[in-house]
Symmetry: C2
Subunit: 415 residues, 2 copies
């Protein structure tokens, strides 16, 4: 644990240097790091091969192995990500508000880094460089705890990033990796409130729950998405089929994919058969309530558990409702406050849905798949926040900042 | 615990009603609640007398008894506070940002309530009405857990508030009190993540630490302030004495009071004697380092512990430094990120201090005592945040809100 405290102290020392860097200095380091990743891909790929070998030996499933695997192309993509972050505007130092008080005090609300950010994630080595890039651009030091299955890849990537920082005369400790893969170390990390300002878990529901339950550091919850498409009585049926198909199947394992369909009974007979026919082309399994099964005779019955499940798979639960109010109540009961969609041509119904559904992103007549930093125009993102504190929805650079009040006086005292 | 779950469910049901209220409806309920508090002060004062009797019987100290005590005047002040909240602008529904994407998606970032707020506080019955007022104006349901020493007062106040809501045809459950004073119930409350969006502890360091360590609900840390005044080599000595005197003694038990003085050695000989003479008029005990004691011969030696202590008393620790860098390092080491002040006529030194000191509010030539919602022009406040996530410094109405993205499309799907 002594080593962990050391990492914390290093990060705190680094943050005071990072917060003073100019935009040019930060961009130069990001571009250098990107180039280093490409130039030194041989050592990264060799390390990655060790992780892959261990994974295969331990019977890791093909999906996870694929997420773990790096290639020359994938490293080039990671490097391109860092170049893109370098090109994004720098929001640090921005005067967000300025006001003067009757007593003459001049108050500036100024954007500043959070300080030290901790990221806990699973075996996806691309996150290592992404997280560094976003944190570094916003003047934050970062301590990374990656999945143990990717430990060799992460060590190699972090070493390359640190060497790039070195050559730019920046503190290597702007990015640090917890190399000890013991679970007790992770548990200890989550209690390092003295050194770490914010903890962001990236991964599945289990990882996130564990961080929320154990951390004393403020956490930003990201990730899980039990997202719905509601097809209203006034929907354009063809548009509804197209949006549902996209939201459900365009990419299956992501948090903004649709998991559940809610259909107004008045449009059920026209919509469900077309929908089923289209989703059949992707072999999506349908699980519906009684009313759905009156129309789709071979539909599997949906259980209570289905409505609460983020499948991340070719499965869709279906619920029939008699009103938009019932749709909203159903969604607010089962959703994870991520992304929700209504398909309707009725403006009043759309506004009601936008106002009353409790989620980070609520769509009218568009796929839930747009909840994404790039799609929103924020550039790279650190994740999708599903909590209401600090940041909600796609978290880009601004969401990795805080603010401070700078107050200029000329001798004011309080009466 | 069943009762607690009931409160959580009630609050969640109420939040959907509250988020739809118009400004007029909310203001009317706040004004009615204020009038009810005055009209029904007899029953509140009687309940308060029970608490005071218990307090005296249990040997509660005079300071705490005073904070617990209500009078006709104090109830009038509490009511006036609610009227003031009614007069503040309503920020819910504000479009914070609007942007359009190349694919035609129109995205509005809209201010919304947090949902359900939990407040855990000590035996100050005025917080009961304040917290209700701020949460209600921002469309949030609130669950209160007040100190057990004020339980009768809180029950009486909440009953009056609920009756006022009733007559305005609002849900009584917009404000609920946890009446069970068992500690196990408080522990359970802090885990009610399913129902409560944010938990705000208001009180001393012990209470706040306990909430941070035990809550699974996102917490906004408030409160403790180990605040410094740094008197630079280029300070106006008279201004420095005046600001320090105000920051230290204008009100002694508050979080934005000064606890520690940092002095540049070059101004030490001119500043310290004047400072000591002035603070002596309020009997402030001085605890200084070696260098301080060369000038102030009767000054008590300061220990390491002194520099880390929020006295909330007529005591001041003193540290001498050789540079503004040393001053900044000392402050960043010992402060609680609340409010810090530099007194200097040197613009460069001031900017350096403003940029490099890590605190919610950093002052040049003004007393730390201005860190306060009213002094900032925000109106009433729920507390002073000392964390960097979500809100920093004085937390008024806007800091009790979140946002959601409302996205209008016309059939967009992701490619």
């Amino acid at each position: 644990m002594a080593e962990l405290t050391e990492l914390g102290k290093n990060a705190c020392a680094a943050k005071y240097i990072l917060q003073k860097l100019t935009t040019e200095e930060k961009n130069k380091a990001l571009d250098t790091a990107a180039n280093y990743l490409c130039d030194r891909q041989a050592e990264i790929l060799a390390a990655n091969e060790s992780d892959l070998e261990n994974g295969r030996r331990n019977g890791m499933n093909p999906g996870l192995l694929d997420r773990l695997k790096l290639t020359s192309d994938r490293i080039a993509q990671i490097a391109e990500g860092l170049h893109q972050i370098s090109e994004l505007p720098d929001c640090i130092g921005e005067v967000m508000e300025h006001f003067e008080r009757p007593n003459g005090l001049k108050i500036d609300k100024v954007r500043v880094p959070l300080g030290v950010i901790g990221i806990i994630y699973e075996a996806r080595p691309n996150v290592t460089a992404d997280a560094f890039g976003l944190c570094f651009k916003t003047g934050n030091a970062v301590i990374l705890k990656g999945g143990s299955d990717a430990i060799h890849s992460n060590i190699a990537i972090v070493r390359v990033l640190q060497d790039a920082l070195d050559v730019c005369k920046m503190p290597r400790t702007a990015v640090q990796l917890i190399e000890d893969t013991d679970r007790a170390v992770t548990a200890q990390f989550m209690k390092m409130k003295e050194y770490v300002d914010v903890l962001i878990p990236r991964g599945g529901a289990g990882l996130i729950r564990s961080v929320v339950e154990n951390s004393t550091i403020p956490v930003i919850e990201t990730g899980t998405g039990n997202c719905h498409v509601y097809v209203d009585r006034d929907a354009d049926v063809d548009m509804a089929v197209k949006i549902l198909m996209n939201a459900k199947t365009q990419r299956i394992g992501v948090c903004n994919a649709c998991e559940s369909l809610v259909v107004h009974r008045a449009i059920r007979d026209r919509f469900l058969p077309k929908m089923a026919e289209t989703l059949k082309t992707k072999n999506v399994e349908l699980r519906g309530d009684e009313s759905t099964r009156e129309i789709l005779l071979d539909c599997i019955p949906a259980t209570e558990e289905d409505y609460g499940t983020e499948y991340l798979d070719y499965i869709l639960s279906i619920k029939t409702v008699d009103s938009v109010d019932e749709a909203i109540a159903h969604i607010n009961r089962y959703n994870t406050k991520h992304s929700e969609c209504i398909v309707t041509e009725n403006v009043q119904t759309a506004e009601k849905f936008l106002n009353e559904v409790d989620a980070a992103c609520v769509y009218v007549n568009a796929s839930t798949r747009f909840t994404d930093g790039f799609e929103f125009g924020f550039g790279a993102e650190i994740g999708i926040s599903t909590q209401k504190l600090h940041a909600r929805g796609p978290m880009g650079l601004k969401e990795l900042t805080s603010y401070k009040y700078k107050i200029h006086g000329n001798g004011q005292i309080r009466g």
